[in-house]
Symmetry: C2
Subunit: 471 residues, 2 copies
Amino acid sequence: MSAPTALAPLTGVSALLDAVGADAPHLDVRAPSAATASFAWDAGTAPRQGEPAGDGPAVAVPRTVAEVQELVRLAARYGVSVVPRGAGTGLSGGAGAQADQLVISTDRLDRIVEVSPADEVAVVEPGVLNAALNDRLAPLGLFYAPDPASWRISTIGGNIATNAGGLRCAKYGVTRESVLALDIVLADGSLVSVGHRSIKGVTGLDLVSLFVGSEGVLGIVVGATVRIRPLPVARRTVTAFFASTAEGVTAIGAITASRVRPSVVEFLDEPTLVGIDAAQNSDLRARGAALLLIELDGFGIDEQTAELTAALEAAGARVRVESETDAEVFWELRRSGRRFDERSWFAGGDVAVPKSRIAEMFAGFSAIESRHGVEISAVAHAGDGNLHPVVTLPIPAGADPANPPAALHHAVDDIVRAALALGGTVSGEHGIGTVKRALAAEELADRVRAAQFAIKSALDPVGLFNPGKAL
Amino acid sequence: MSAPTALAPLTGVSALLDAVGADAPHLDVRAPSAATASFAWDAGTAPRQGEPAGDGPAVAVPRTVAEVQELVRLAARYGVSVVPRGAGTGLSGGAGAQADQLVISTDRLDRIVEVSPADEVAVVEPGVLNAALNDRLAPLGLFYAPDPASWRISTIGGNIATNAGGLRCAKYGVTRESVLALDIVLADGSLVSVGHRSIKGVTGLDLVSLFVGSEGVLGIVVGATVRIRPLPVARRTVTAFFASTAEGVTAIGAITASRVRPSVVEFLDEPTLVGIDAAQNSDLRARGAALLLIELDGFGIDEQTAELTAALEAAGARVRVESETDAEVFWELRRSGRRFDERSWFAGGDVAVPKSRIAEMFAGFSAIESRHGVEISAVAHAGDGNLHPVVTLPIPAGADPANPPAALHHAVDDIVRAALALGGTVSGEHGIGTVKRALAAEELADRVRAAQFAIKSALDPVGLFNPGKAL
């Protein structure tokens, strides 16, 4: 073991690296350096252009579950805390690590172990990309339902850690509803299997659901049995344009009051349409001041279309059933969205509210805009009350792009508090990570937080996994 | 406080009763006696005719959440463990209590607090009957999906405690998928709210899912916000009769391979059909040796029927789309089922296996029948691989009905072990309670059980709630 250096907090990491070099050279562990800087952040906390990046953490890229166990035991022995990491596409800082920590990356645990159409399950390692699983399933007429916006680049393991939502969860549920069983490495290095390959099962406490969405604070998921479904027999895209944001938001309630449950219900407000047109050279705003972009799927697609159209038209919409070609254009505009470039400061949100309160959320934006001198736009996964507001502010000439004014973040906080006041939540689907811990503390009662910490301590008594995150 | 009596274990209960009498006469707490004997068991552990029933536990029937808190604090103070109880319709002994315990019944916490079609939620107290909620929702065109066989007589709180399944969960999921938020009284008497009224939310660990199915060992659910859905636009019953149990079981895979996902897929094997005919004077066995009783719902009911019928006929079935009148007869026969009377010993099971292994489960029954000299029949919630086998044995003249031979229970154990060997689970939907604890220990690894106990201890350090159950 090397002598202590001036970097006291790194002693543990140095000792761990020495031990790996001496006794476990088969492990791929990279020392903290500028080369690991990107492991200090995720997609939500990456530095802006011009911001300095320091040394990153130590990074291990195990090839097997046994190597994950070995790394966890070494980290515990040398007192180095562990940050599990998938693709790093999270938006709340959950996968970011400091120089005195060890990242365990799931990059090389990327096998699709099995696809069983007869059991309606797939068995995967955590580093499998969501898109890779769906590419494998599609030729079999099957799909894996959770579809976070990051689905092309995010991993199943990361989706599980954050209980990722997405567009289709209005109909198919969030990640939790698609996970049947997990293999997990716990803080003592032991490997446990929880849950069932059967669709149902109630033996003991539901540890699968507890681990889904736990943001890596309870253990590392090293395997998952997920539920797969037959591809719908038909899909259809319906657009509904409205004369105003307010009118469009009200129409969301008309869908709820109908008997149709679309697979996707995306609401885009007026500034979002204007922003997309500017970025993509489209003409959405010319067609209306707000848009509900809806996908129906399944049997009886004509019946569904008729009932949905009637409900929307009664709410004042101009409704169109899109051709496949036009539908693809709309979904691509939705995915690519606005561009937030170096000319603006911006900050995003991820609140969810009870469905009947969506209108009040949008109606409250103008007061927050006035108070803080910012602009707010939002898209909403309207089928489940999940809004993604974006607060923007043009960067004046000469200002430092890396230092947005406090008003930007105060506006985000006000949006979150508005959601809480309406019976909503700090995070609909992105998770708490580091970014939303203070606001989560406003949402959760002290006794609830104490219960969460007690569970964390019960499973990870020394606080090895992802300290300072989620809870 | 009264002097200790000969009944040493009851000291705590006596002291608690004295304290209630002296300081809290508003609490309705009944002393252990023959009058509370029925609280010693549930529907799965009730004594047979002729079996003696001893004194039951102390029983409290609080009127308010505050009274529940008060009772929990009193129980903790006097060292009396608490058994939460809904309607007592459970089948695994989870709600049974001993003379030195305090039952807290949710009987009087039976208000439907709110129904919000716009938010797609209902807010209920735990003692609300599942049927009462659906009676309230039906005129609004809505329903609450979880439908355990006991739905007319079981409570939402009990359904939550056991994560109850039912027939429709093949399509709509089990109770967990319909619970958004819970109010819970913890072991220190504190009242906490966990979860969200919004459909989505990922703030901190998922305590809602942890409490669902926890069988009363972590706290008492005193309020629930559950998800409600629009009634399907159409329902249709399809029957498929087969020449043999084996042929019928194989056809289950044909449904899985199709793109139709029925709301209900019930499989009845040959001895079940014979038993129903004997009890109900029906003619099912004359129509075939095995039956798939299927309900389709939703849009495109004709398209669904056509695809399902084609899949089933290709698998050898005689398929009929039933009229509404005939459909009602079939569902009533399924619900009323066989009768198990005083002429037979019987014992039931609740295993679940991966869907592709259902055929092997049924094929394995004859060897177990031969080994133990019993008869086995089974119905299966085939859509999710959940079997309810029943082991029977005629009672010879002069034998004691209250003392079945060990062979009966050995046969049940062998069925469970067969399910485990096929990758299945001890309990698909009834829970562990007291009845299946030994078998659960065969399913779960020691490290998993240790993790479950650690979580129990974290939330209930003194073991106040439902000791000896579930874990």
